[in-house]
């Protein structure tokens, strides 16, 4: 398989060091912020530091040419796939930082520590996408989750924020317990925690040994929880609703994305496609996620919750491509993640600009008649929603096309057809929001949200960039496709 490595020496070479620098940059940024807070609390400064460090990190990643496939035994692997998603996560984090500034600038609480948590969470996600070992997996995951706990509950004054935090904490810890136990079982059977070694242990088996099944099952529970696929989806809506908007979008994009990549990596490494039991389990999960997610969102009145439920079904879609496997499948997953990140961040970004200092804009009444109050905002939001629905001209369409293509190539007709049915169901609640926005509401004169001009500016360019990306990827996807393919096959 692709990512299987033969090298075994444990000494750390120079390019290994180069490879790992991006992680260092993130860590040091966190520390830097810590110090600067100690010196003086200044939101703007902190925000600038964060943004710059993320940017720098990204630039370093893409400019400094590191060997095609660097491996740091036994924990990390720096292949194109990993790097691509590393970069993707960094960019997303950057966009979220922008939005977070716009969001927190008008909040009363102490804003500064938030950025430490943001960076640490990003660090965790990045660690996930390059890890090839249970230890690094575990570390990445926990860095991510622990910082998320406090991010979710960051706005202490809000009941819901706190409630969401606690729910997420207990559930996450619970699921990590499962996951750890699973790891332990796998370790117990295989005698290694490194993906490659596990794979080579499993290679002879045509059918999985019992303990292995138990282990993988527990592992899957942990992963499934973070992905928020059925039947581990129940926390999603509440956490999305309770968390501050930027955090919500962080959970929706970065944390899930990291896990997806990890899942793909692990699954391909142990060549899961050859085990019917695994394939069946994943298919069942995928189908259930698609249906239940969409049905839950169907008549939902709260936009945040709608997006939460829709994310469940989107994870289901991704699983379809993931199950289709093959290179097209992996490409599809990567591409879909890009599209999904752009769209989700965009959608939540719009909600961010609509929110005032008291509460987030999440109810239908917040967007009712938006087309006539703020046409551009409404238009962009509809674009984002249509992209989620997979309508042409948008990135979401190409993503969906990619997934369906992968599914068809893999002859997974059942899954693909269910996907089609579901995107028809899903269409309903997306266009429902649009129709709410287009309702003729001269009557509604709710106090217009007033933000500081700087805030407007920042969130403005961020969203503008996202929109451009949305349509660019939607209409000229070839660049991105070739890039992904190049990175995967290099």
């Amino acid at each position: 398989m692709l990512f299987l490595s033969e090298r075994k020496e444990v000494v750390m070479s120079r390019e290994d060091l180069l490879n790992i620098v991006p992680l260092f940059i993130l860590t040091s940024a966190a520390i830097l912020i810590l110090f600067s807070i100690a010196i003086k609390r200044n939101h703007k400064v902190i925000y600038v530091i964060t943004a710059l460090s993320l940017l720098a990190d990204f630039i370093f990643l893409v400019t400094v040419d590191t060997p095609a496939k660097g491996i740091i035994e036994p924990l990390f692997i720096f292949d194109g796939f990993g790097k691509f998603n590393f970069g993707l996560i960094l960019i997303t984090a950057l966009a979220l930082t922008m939005l977070s500034y716009a969001y927190f600038e008008q909040r009363e609480e102490r804003k500064e520590e938030y950025y430490i948590l943001l960076i640490l969470a990003t660090l965790g996600a990045c660690t996930l996408v390059i890890s090839k070992h249970f230890v690094s997996l575990f570390l990445g995951l926990e860095i991510l989750s622990v910082s998320l706990y406090s991010m979710i509950a960051y706005l202490r004054k809000r009941k819901r924020s706190d409630e969401a935090g606690i729910k997420y904490l207990i559930m996450a810890a619970f699921s990590s317990a499962f996951m750890l136990f699973g790891m332990a079982l796998i370790y117990y059977t295989t005698g290694s925690m490194e993906f490659g070694a596990i794979a080579s242990y499993l290679a002879p088996f045509s059918k999985l040994p019992l303990l292995m099944i138990a282990g993988l099952g527990f592992l899957l529970i942990g992963i499934g929880f973070k992905l928020g696929v059925v039947p581990f989806h129940m926390w999603i809506a509440d956490v999305y609703e309770g968390a501050p908007l930027p955090v919500t979008s962080f959970i929706a994009t970065v944390s899930k994305g990291g896990i997806v990549i990890l899942l793909v990596r692990f699954f391909l490494q142990i060549n899961g496609h050859q085990y019917t039991s695994l394939v069946v389990i994943f298919s069942v999960v995928a189908i259930a996620s698609m249906f239940i997610g969409n049905l839950l969102a169907l008549q939902q009145q709260n936009i945040k919750r709608i997006l939460a439920y829709s994310s469940i079904s989107h994870m289901g879609y991704i699983l379809v491509a993931f199950l289709a496997g093959g290179s097209l499948g992996i490409e599809a997953v990567a591409f879909y993640l890009v599209a999904y990140f752009i769209t989700t961040v965009g959608a939540f970004g719009i909600l961010t600009t609509l929110s005032d200092s008291q509460r987030d804009a999440e109810l239908f009444d917040d967007v009712r008649g938006l087309f006539w109050r703020r046409p551009w905002t409404a238009a962009i939001f509809s674009a984002m929603l249509l992209s989620l629905a997979g309508v042409p001209l948008t990135a979401g369409f190409v993503g969906e096309f990619y997934i369906v293509a992968a599914g068809v190539q893999g002859n997974m007709w059942l899954l693909v057809i269910i996907l089609v049915i579901n995107s028809a169901i899903g269409l309903f609640y997306y266009i429902r929001i649009i129709s709410i926005m287009s309702e003729k509401q001269e009557a509604i004169d709710r106090p217009e949200v007033t933000l500081k001009p700087s805030v407007y500016f920042i969130s403005g360019i961020t969203i503008a960039a996202l929109v451009i990306a949305l349509f660019w990827v939607g209409i000229f996807p070839d660049r991105l496709m070739t890039l992904i393919r190049f990175l995967i096959f290099s």
């Binding site: 622990v146 207990i170 317990a177 499962f178 136990f181 332990a184």
Partner: protein, 102 residues
């Protein structure tokens, strides 16, 4: 001289894990729920140690240390949140925290 088979350790771990699980499900007091989660985590830790000893590797114990650290961090954040919740809801009943539903 007789050694304890590794399976026994594994069984112990699973028993502990199940206990934690059950208590988590039956307890409503949020603090106890936190504790039960910790029990489950430690059960996983024991399982790691057992596995490590089976293969005569240090990795299991290393993992256990990581788990402890993580658990500690988790508990600290968790307690903070619980405190906050108590301020708001004036109760530790986890079922009381159900403002968001549907």
């Amino acid at each position: 001289m007789n050694v304890i088979p590794a399976e026994y350790g594994l069984i112990l771990a699973s028993v502990l894990f199940t206990l934690g699980l059950v208590s988590l499900l039956i307890r409503r007091n949020i603090i106890f729920m936190l504790i039960s989660v910790e029990i489950m985590l430690n059960a996983a830790g024991i399982a790691f140690i057992v596995a490590g000893s089976k293969w005569a590797q240090p990795d299991g114990q290393v993992m256990f240390i990581f788990i402890l650290t993580m658990a500690a961090a988790e508990v600290s954040v968790g307690l903070a949140l619980i405190l906050q919740m108590y301020h708001q809801l004036k109760t530790l009943d986890s079922d009381a925290a159900n403002k968001m539903k549907g």
